[in-house]
Symmetry: C2
Subunit: 198 residues, 2 copies
């Protein structure tokens, strides 16, 4: 796409930086945006700025929220003594969509990966240990069944075991190497039911 | 994606309105945007607003430009007596990428479609006829080989014939029903070489 305009080149290269957007999609999106009425472009741009400005981590579980704590942590009908540990918000969202899990979550925002230089201090792990000083019955580790996810699960279970709190891992109904967010709800539930104590 | 935040819901629904973006991609992009540093989000939002504000149609050919006329029309080394008529800027871009076409363009911004209620007055057709009052040797019709594209080609050729200007149509090297912007450059060039007088 070369119309000799820095404005278009700039827009395309900004769009290309978004996940899953190649150069063809970026070009198509850019031309679409230029063709929109001005007020629609303002709405689109504002929606990004507003979301970025107002959404932050829940003080309790590190889910996203625009309040102090997220709607899940705020919900007193949920079982606050059961904490499911997930790698990211998309994985939390995947379990929420099943509608069957009634406990709360802890979002690590990553997984331990020696390859990528991500250690236990780079994810929300000490924050999890801090939460366990409260009244907790069970920690369900629902990290991905990738190498990093399994490493993280083993690491967490070794940290928690001495505290006497029950630690479980979702069953390997989740295909090895699979990514939680793309798995169907039935498989996700089967994995939850079949969880085994570590 | 339900974190009970109107800001996130709003961002996702704005992203979903972009072409080729489904709900899953919109969610992924939204979470990515929230995770970016503030200055990157500002850059992304600004790139949209700046492009929308500064880019408009070339007064000559209706390509996009941030000046008075586009870089192609401004280029005096190109053959201004040969005009290729395309449906949209992406199609112009596809022919530009071949680097072999040395004439200029006319972007219709659409094609005649009785089904969609798009008539000759809804595309930049009278602007094309206006241009033909100048010094023009040939009009190459490179609308898509879809029903609408063919209808538009026939309509234009009937309009131009009486003026005595040569009217050609790119060869049907382009697969029937195909969309110009996705076709490889060799096929595009073969279609250009094999063009026939209408």
């Amino acid at each position: 796409m070369d119309i000799g305009s820095g404005y278009l080149d700039n827009l395309i290269s900004e769009l290309e930086r978004l996940p899953g957007i190649g150069s063809k999609s970026a070009q198509r999106m850019a031309l679409h945006i230029i063709g929109l009425p001005m007020e629609r472009v303002v709405k689109l741009a504002d929606s990004m700025l507003n979301a970025k400005e107002n959404i932050h981590y829940c003080h309790e579980c590190f889910n996203l929220t625009d309040g102090e704590v997220c709607t899940i942590c705020k919900n007193m009908e949920r079982d606050h003594k059961t904490i499911m540990v997930v790698e990211n918000v998309r994985d939390l969202s995947a379990y929420e969509k099943t509608g069957k899990y009634k406990g709360v979550y802890h979002v690590l925002h990553g997984a331990i990966s020696p390859m990528l230089g991500i250690g236990p201090n780079d994810i929300k792990l000490k924050e999890l240990i801090e939460r366990l000083k409260g009244d907790v019955d069970e920690v369900i580790i629902a990290t991905n069944s990738s190498l990093e996810g399994e490493t993280t699960a083993m690491y967490i279970s070794k940290l928690i075991k001495p505290t006497g709190i029950k630690v479980t891992r979702i069953a390997s109904g989740v295909p090895v190497g699979g990514d939680l967010e793309y798995i169907d709800e039935v498989t996700l539930l089967r994995a939850l039911d079949g969880r085994i104590e570590l």
